[in-house]
């Protein structure tokens, strides 16, 4: 057991910190610091800056831009990025479809998609969820039917985050309705400018439009856009969702928000011991969570994921929500204000929408109920 980072890892940490705080556009980082929604351009620019320096997809195979880092270095990279208010690489590209294509795609698919995916020249959307499926992903109904070499796709996806910016969408579609539900699913890559694709925004309770419905009406998709074998989509989906859990605890970002709250509401916190107690509790829980992420990272080198990795999403989202609730309470009546007076007023004005938006964190991406199910079944054998 060893507390300190090795000299090399310490140097790596410093290198990351320097890059993130000096090479990434200041105005983008300020937007993140103030909790504003990023524009499409800001997200593309930031990822391209990272990609140019080889920092967008370090966990991919080295052939496609990966760096062969230890899990600890990936953790450091991820934390320093968040601490510096640098937007993390778009998950749909970097964490989801990229690794899937690298693992299951044909050589042609890899060459065609991976460089543009790493550089966010293609913005990917995720087409998994459907209105009637919910946590029961495999009950999806969108169909793809053979027509010569092509597939004809019909159906509806939903909860497609940032689908309004999407160039391409990776989908799960039913290619064999006759077999057990998981067995008849394939993964198709679909150009969102194809005829018959329609994106309809969904307004959320925070007043924003970050998610969408995506409708497919007789959309023709070339056969070469199928990833892996026909009817093997469930394998790829599980691989993708497994990846999704790595680094899923939003520790760095949550710590940043809490630090900002302490800075902007110091007087309020000093004036009420209950606030101070909440800050201490949250800082402590976040420390425990970060240490757990480190423990898991140090353990996962090459092998099966550490069982404790399942707690990262569960606890990470709970803490993210708890911090957002604290911010609302620190704001108090200022959360209802016009925000016209100064930056602090504006920060607190945005706190209720953020709090409301983050209620999604325990629902999407494998709800916390699904996480508990995984823990109780897989880890505890219940």
């Amino acid at each position: 057991m060893q507390l300190a980072l090795s000299e090399e890892d310490r140097a790596f940490q410093q290198e990351m910190r320097t890059f993130f705080t000096t090479e990434v556009d200041e105005s983008i980082r300020r937007s993140v610091a103030e909790g504003r929604e990023l524009t499409e351009d800001q997200i593309r620019e930031s990822m391209q800056t990272l990609n140019k320096a080889g920092l967008a997809v370090p966990h991919w195979p080295e052939e496609w831009g990966g760096r062969g880092w230890s899990e600890l270095r990936r953790h450091i990279w991820h934390e320093e990025m968040q601490a510096a208010c640098v937007p993390v690489p778009l998950a749909f590209n970097a964490s989801m479809i990229g690794p899937v294509i690298a693992q299951f795609g044909s050589q042609e698919q890899k060459e065609r998609f991976l460089p543009k995916t790493a550089n966010l020249d293609i913005w990917w959307s995720q087409g998994f969820s459907e209105p009637d499926a919910g946590s029961d992903l495999a009950s999806l109904r969108t169909t793809a039917v053979r027509d010569g070499d092509d597939w004809i796709v019909n159906g509806q996806k939903t909860w497609t985050t940032l689908g309004q910016y999407g160039d391409w969408i990776f989908t799960l579609v039913r290619t064999d309705p006759e077999v057990k539900k998981q067995a008849g699913i394939s993964m198709l890559l679909i150009d969102m400018s194809s005829e018959g694709v329609e994106v309809r925004p969904i307004e959320l309770i925070d007043g924003g439009y970050e998610v969408n419905e995506v409708w497919f009406e007789d959309v023709r998709v070339p056969g070469e856009n199928l990833v892996g074998e026909v009817n093997s989509g469930w394998t790829q989906a599980k691989f993708l969702l497994g990846n999704e859990r790595v680094g899923v605890a939003p520790v760095g970002q949550t710590k940043r928000v809490l630090a900002r709250a302490k800075e902007l509401a110091r007087d309020v916190i000093d004036g009420d011991p209950a606030f101070k107690a909440r800050v201490v509790d949250l800082e402590n829980e976040l420390l425990a969570l970060e240490l757990t992420a480190l423990r898991v990272a140090a353990h996962s080198a090459g092998a099966e994921p550490h069982p404790a990795s399942s707690v990262l999403k569960l606890k990470g989202t709970e803490l993210q929500q708890a911090v957002s609730e604290l911010v609302v309470d620190l704001g108090g009546p200022a959360t209802l204000g016009s925000g016209a007076d100064d930056g602090t007023a504006d920060w607190f004005r945005r706190s209720v929408p953020i709090y409301l938006n983050l209620r999604k964190a325990s629902i999407y991406g494998g709800s916390n109920e699904v996480q508990r199910q995984i823990i109780s079944r897989t880890i505890l054998g219940l």
């Binding site: 919910g134 307004e203 007043g207 009546p333 209802l336 016009s338 209720v352």
Partner: protein, 383 residues
């Protein structure tokens, strides 16, 4: 000690429920109502006036009905059940309540009469940037100029402040203390700059910047009425708790209906015991809050301001907790659909969150109660 409504109260409840239910039982109507200014349904407001609901708390001499806190609570609860965005709490309970408490007979008759008739919407301009639920004013100051008064300074988060026909404005008095003033933006000389904006629950608030705005003292000129403001805020806290209770009842009902109808993995969600037990905990929170709301409403009816302040803090604490618990769980047990603006249940949580921070949240109330914890051996509702 009696927790039941009498026949008239039941009739009032049914009448209000019928009216607002017709307006908002289709949630799409509520969405439409808040989509455009003024953020509520003026027609329904008029119907509430016709039913006598807007004049309920005011004496008959003032153009009202002379009903009591229990009746106001019934109205607030019914408005809460359908998430009605009408400015009942702000115009009738807060602004109207202060006019009734402090105004001269003539003011009461004029202002409350027009309010009760649905002809004039009132708003209370009290909160100031940086303030934290205090009954005093300091950022807006009142100056006596000859026979008249002028106000200068900024009020923020004024509920329905852009739409209001008459503003009830609190201001620091020249000789100390806080006074109340009536400002009619359409006739006031000087600057009354109102910038309306939507709150996270879709309802409207405004920033009101006053600069030498002429104003009429409410009641006796120059009198410190901070105590009256405090008491009306306390009463409004109890009425807000009634509104919240109505909302929580709807949220629990929506949740249990969803659990029994929505299928996942081939079965309805109520097959999953982990979810049904959480619904049971929501019910427990709801019923405890319900008892506290009824009790606090009766304390308001009994009328002792010290007891009202205590009861307002207690019900505020309880309902804040229940609101977060039930409001968060209602979304979680529904899943993604409750995140969407077109589905009602998540929007209840939005409004609960706004309401929680309008007049003082649970932490604020707890802090108030900490001050008196050694003044009693235990809390005895039966004395």
């Amino acid at each position: 000690m009696d927790f039941t409504y009498d026949d008239e109260q039941t009739a009032l409840r049914d009448a209000v429920r019928g009216l607002v239910g017709k307006a908002y039982s289709d949630y799409e109507n509520r969405r439409r109502a808040v989509a455009d200014d003024p953020g509520f349904d003026e027609k329904l407001w008029t119907q509430l006036a016709e039913m006598g609901v807007l004049g309920l708390p005011f004496s008959e001499d003032d153009g009202g009905v002379g009903a009591g806190p229990v009746e106001i609570g019934i109205v607030c609860r019914e408005l809460g059940r359908v998430l009605a965005p009408e400015p009942y709490l702000s115009a009738v309970v807060l602004a109207g309540g202060l006019v009734a408490a402090v105004g001269t007979a003539e003011q009461r008759s004029d202002v409350l009469g027009a309010l009760a008739a649905g002809e004039s919407v009132l708003a209370l301009a009290h909160h100031e940037p940086g303030a934290r639920w205090t009954p005093s004013a300091s950022g807006v100051t009142a100056t006596q100029a000859g026979d008249g008064w002028t106000l200068s300074g900024v009020k923020d988060a004024v509920p329905h402040g852009a739409r209001a026909d008459v503003l009830v404005v609190s201001a620091a008095l020249p000789d100390g203390g806080t006074g109340l003033f009536l400002v009619d933006p359409s006739t006031s000389s000087g600057t009354v700059q109102r910038e309306g904006y939507p709150l996270p629950d879709g309802t409207r608030a405004a920033r009101v910047a006053l600069d030498g705005a002429t104003a009429t003292p409410l009641g006796e000129a120059g009198r410190d009425v901070e105590a009256s403001i405090a008491t009306v805020l306390d009463i409004a806290r109890v009425m807000a708790a009634n509104e919240a209770l109505g909302m929580l009842q709807t949220q629990l009902k929506a949740t249990t209906e969803y659990l029994t109808s929505r299928k996942q993995f081939g079965v309805t969600l109520n097959t999953f015991q982990a979810l049904t037990f959480r619904a049971a905990d929501m019910y427990t929170s709801l019923e405890l809050a319900h008892s506290m709301v009824d009790w606090a409403t009766m304390v308001v009816a009994a009328g002792d301001p010290v007891a009202v302040a205590d009861a307002a803090a207690r019900v505020g604490l309880q309902v804040s907790r229940a609101g977060r618990h039930i409001g968060q769980e209602a979304i979680q047990l529904h899943g993604g659909i409750a995140m969407t603006a077109e589905y009602a249940v998540g929007n209840y949580t939005s409004h609960l969150t706004v309401l929680d921070h309008l007049l003082g949240d649970g932490g604020h109330h707890r802090r108030t109660l900490e001050g008196s914890v050694f003044e009693h051996e235990s809390v005895e509702p039966l004395g």
